[in-house]
Structures are given as structure tokens and as C-alpha cells.
Amino acid sequence: MRPPSPSIPEREFALSALQQSMRIDGRTLLEIRPINLTFGPALGCVECELGKTRVLAFIDSKMIKPPEERPLEGIISIHSEISPMASSAYETGRPSDEEVAITRMLEKVLRRSDAVDRESLCIVAGQRVWHLRLTLHFLADAGNMLDCACLAAVAALRHFRRPEVEVVGEDVITYDPSERPPIPLAMHHTPYVLTFALFPFASTPAPQQTKLSSTHVPTPQLANSSITAVLDPSPLEASLLPSSSPSLLSLALTPQRELCVVNKAGGVPVSPEEFLWLVKVAEERVREVEACLEGGLLKAKAEAEGIGSL
């Protein structure tokens, strides 16, 4: 069952607030909700919270015989079914358009952009390769599940360690983690996804910032913009967009200013200048996300070592 669309007063209130560069949840237009990553207990098990949206990513690995056409590459498979657990809007069975969009985007970000070096997952050419199985559990949908799911998946890939193996003649010896430390995955790059919702009206510049925290990054400004871009849209903001053609722009990019996936299909038309401005904004914001993940990984590592030394 779809949740009811917002009432007319609620809708008008939210839109007029956006026109004045304000959001109902108190964020500025280009601010992401707080990210909270919980690592463990197993390696490759990460729960990512983005505001109240929660996604759990889990990776396990096993050895398989590679398919004939790609004997030198390991396999990564992504399993993500959105169950009614996340929100009553989702049903089991036939995936909705939204679900297809999320799974396709995940596939593009993690697989097609070659984030993980698949050749390093090969053990014996044509005989044995690693098969990584990434399962995403959507625990709660409070808007923008795509960004949350991608962050969870990337964090899990970074956190995961596969067992050390050695090839002796024909045999493959797998070492227990207590014998030899398991090794992290070789990653080419770490993409982070940021989603903007675009509204077809100009907004007045934001009121003077009152809270100037140390993490605050100055946002590049664009003059004479005819659109209002909202980063990390909440469910209310997403429901203000026309459902037939939601004006969402999803950018997957690395902190090294490389774009991995850009997806804007239809919706509000933007001028090239506005589009490039949005890319610049995303480049700034992605550093915050990266700092969050790197900080979390360091902490998880320190904790794991603390347990190990006891």
C-alpha cells in the first residue's frame, strides 16, 4: 500500500519553505542527513544509517569454478530485494519501477564501474575464483534509500576481508583467519552516490548561517538559477515531485573528482551551467561522506585490534 500523498496544505507549506531555501527537517538545501555506520561483528557486515533510513549490507565469499567466457575474473553478485519491512509501500513479488531503478543503479555503481578489481579475485585461472555475494537488506525507508544502500555496500566492500589462500601444485590451501590474517579486497576506486531532487522554481538565497560548525564546507554559488536543488531528499520532498517523472539526479563519484555514474532521466530540464554546478556541489559533499566512512573504518579496525590483543 502506498502511503497517502501529502495533503494540499502540507504540500504548499513544504514548497513555499523550499522557495525560501528552508527545509522542514531544518537542513540547508545542500546538506546530507547525519551518517552513522556500524561495523561488524563479522567482516563485511555494515549497517548504514542515513537519518532514519537504514540499510544492512553483508558480504560473504566462496570459491567457485568461473564461467567459461571469463576464466580470469572473480564474480560479484548483488542481491537486493526491497521487502515490506522497509516500508509498507513495497510489496514482495514483482519489483516496482523504483526498485528496478535502485537495483540497476547499484549494479552500475558497484559492478559496471569496476570498483572492485575482479581479476584479483582469481585463484587458479579457469578453475577457482572467488564469488562475492553482496546482500543488501533494506531495514527502514525514510527517503533516499539509493544513497544509503550504495554507502552501505561500499563500506561493506572496504570492511570485508577474504581468507588468504595459497596454491600448491593442484591444491588450493585456505588459511584460517587465526593462521594468516585475511586480506582486504583490491579496489580501484570508492564511489559514493549523491541524489538531488530538482524543483522547477528559483529559491531565494539561504538565510544567514547561524550554526557554523567546523565541518561546514562553503558551497559554490550559482547566480540566476531557475531551479532549486535539494540534496538527499526526504520522503516528503520526494513526494512533492511529479510521480510520473521524478526529477531526480543521481551522481556516483569518487573523492578524486571522478564521475562513475550519472543518471538524470527526464524531469525538470536544467541548463548546462546548472548541471555542472550540481556536479561541483556533489564533489564538495562527497568529501564529507568519505570522511565519515574512513573515520568509521579506522575506528572499526582499532576496535578489532583491541579485541585481538586481549
Binding site: 573528482r257 564521475l259 530540464p269
Partner: protein
């Protein structure tokens, strides 16, 4: 795999003899297709797409009617023989669903759907051959088919694919080039110069992206000229047929016959 092919040689030519910013031959056939209200056969190099448009008409399913605007239904079918190796894709294939969804959401804000409440516009995309730039060809063909169907649009939508080989931007890639270089598809609305669709699926530095993105925006305007000429040629053929007033006119007037009779009623 493709890395043994020289994408851009020292002389500045590509593997099929084109220059960096040269588009492939474009052929547009707007002659009527069966019972469709509008159709367009769009050929760009070896990529060939046939789009037929039906409607606005009553929706087949009552549940699909929207009380204040027209519903747009896009169905994509990729012929099994369209690629080098014969491959049947089921209709539920994620890639096909995504292609259909991209076309639908691109045209939703462009078609003046509010003029046709409680009706449906069906767009059938049939991919006959593919050699790169499938999404852009499908979008261009859909624009043309919608125009021949007489459905009011706010603007043309002109899409073009482009890519980057080391530091050189290239336009309108073939499959061979798509396998090798990062590429993106951009759809432009030429009247306002605004962008409705951008897709990129391979890693590309944002400085390079900016460069190729701007070139693609320009290329969209060139395509617009091409598409407008095709529409103008057809419309003037129709108008001429109406002026002559003889149904049994020259062979080129064949398409105009019924339109003349309709105007006569």
C-alpha cells in the same frame, strides 16, 4: 578485447574513418507505418530504430487512466537479430525496462499531456539494429514519431552519445568505441538549450566530463536542425498534396492522400 583497436589514430581519424566530432549518416523516414498515428524510422550509421506512436486514445485498462492528463506507455522491444551475436532478451530484462523508463520519463514533461485528460499515448520502440548510441537513437526517433502523430510537444528532444578517448572528446560512438571509452548520452531541448537527460555509466574525470558534456550539448543543436528538416520536408509534401487537390497525384503524394480527404470533410 577492444583495446587492440585504435580508437583515434595519429591523423585524427576514428576506426570507421570519421573525425572526432563527426556524426554518422542520419536517415529519417517518416512515411506512415500501418495503422500507427505516427511513426519514424531513424537510422544513424548502423543503429536503426523504428518507433510507432498510437494515440491519444482511450486506455486499454481503466486503471491506467489519469483524470487530469494523458498516460504515456512506452514499450521497448529489442530484436534478437539486432546485435552481432543473436540474443533473445525477455521483455522483463532490466536493461530493457530501464530503457523504456528513461524514454518515458524523458517525454513525460515534454509532451503536453494536460491537453488529453483520461487518455493514453502508446509509444512502441522497436530496435532493429544496434551499433552504439541506442538510447539517443530511440529518443530522437520517439521525438519524430510524436511529431508526425501530431501530438503537441513543448520542444524537440535531441539526444547524442559522446565519449572521451584519453583527452579527446568524440561524438556518436559505435559499439566498438562504446566498449572501449567512457561514454555518456545527453538529451537537449534545443529551444531553451536545457538538458533533460544525462547518463554516464563509466568512470570519467569531472574535468573531462565538463568538456565532453558541453560538446554534446552543441551536437544536440546540430541534430535538431537535421530532425527539423525531415519534419519540414514531410509537412510540405503533405501541404502540397492538399493544395493539388487530387488524391491520385504524384507518387510522392501518396502519404498525403488521406490527409487531403480528411481536410475536405
Amino acid at each position: 578485447m577492444g583495446s587492440r583497436v585504435e580508437i583515434l589514430n595519429d591523423g585524427g581519424y576514428r576506426s570507421d574513418g570519421r573525425r572526432q566530432f563527426e556524426l554518422r549518416d542520419i536517415a529519417i523516414d517518416l512515411s506512415r507505418h500501418g495503422q500507427a498515428d505516427g511513426s519514424a524510422m531513424y537510422t544513424q550509421g548502423l543503429t536503426e530504430v523504428l518507433v510507432t506512436v498510437f494515440g491519444p486514445r482511450e486506455a486499454k485498462l481503466r486503471s491506467q487512466t489519469i483524470h487530469n492528463r494523458a498516460n504515456i506507455n512506452v514499450e521497448v522491444n529489442i530484436a534478437a537479430f539486432s546485435t552481432g551475436e543473436r540474443r533473445k532478451r525477455s521483455r522483463g530484462d532490466k536493461r530493457i525496462l530501464e530503457l523504456g523508463a528513461a524514454i518515458k520519463s524523458t517525454f513525460e514533461p515534454v509532451i503536453q499531456t494536460h491537453l488529453y485528460p483520461r487518455s493514453q499515448i502508446d509509444i512502441f520502440v522497436q530496435v532493429l539494429q544496434q551499433d552504439g548510441g541506442l538510447l539517443s537513437a530511440a529518443i530522437n526517433a520517439t521525438t519524430l514519431a510524436l511529431i508526425t502523430a501530431g501530438i503537441p510537444l513543448f520542444d524537440y528532444v535531441c539526444a547524442v552519445s559522446s565519449g572521451v578517448h584519453s583527452t579527446h572528446a568524440m561524438l556518436d560512438l559505435t559499439t566498438l568505441e562504446e566498449n572501449d571509452v567512457p561514454h555518456l548520452t545527453v538529451a537537449v531541448m534545443p529551444r531553451t538549450g536545457k538538458i533533460t537527460l544525462v547518463t554516464l555509466e563509466t568512470r570519467l574525470h569531472s574535468d573531462r566530463f565538463e568538456e565532453v558534456f558541453r560538446i554534446a550539448c552543441e551536437a544536440g543543436k546540430v541534430l535538431h536542425e537535421e530532425m527539423r528538416n525531415a519534419i519540414k520536408a514531410r509537412t510540405s509534401a503533405l501541404a502540397r498534396a492538399m493544395g493539388e487537390g487530387h488524391p491520385a497525384g504524384a507518387p510522392s503524394n501518396r502519404e498525403g492522400d488521406e490527409d487531403f480527404e480528411m481536410g475536405d470533410d
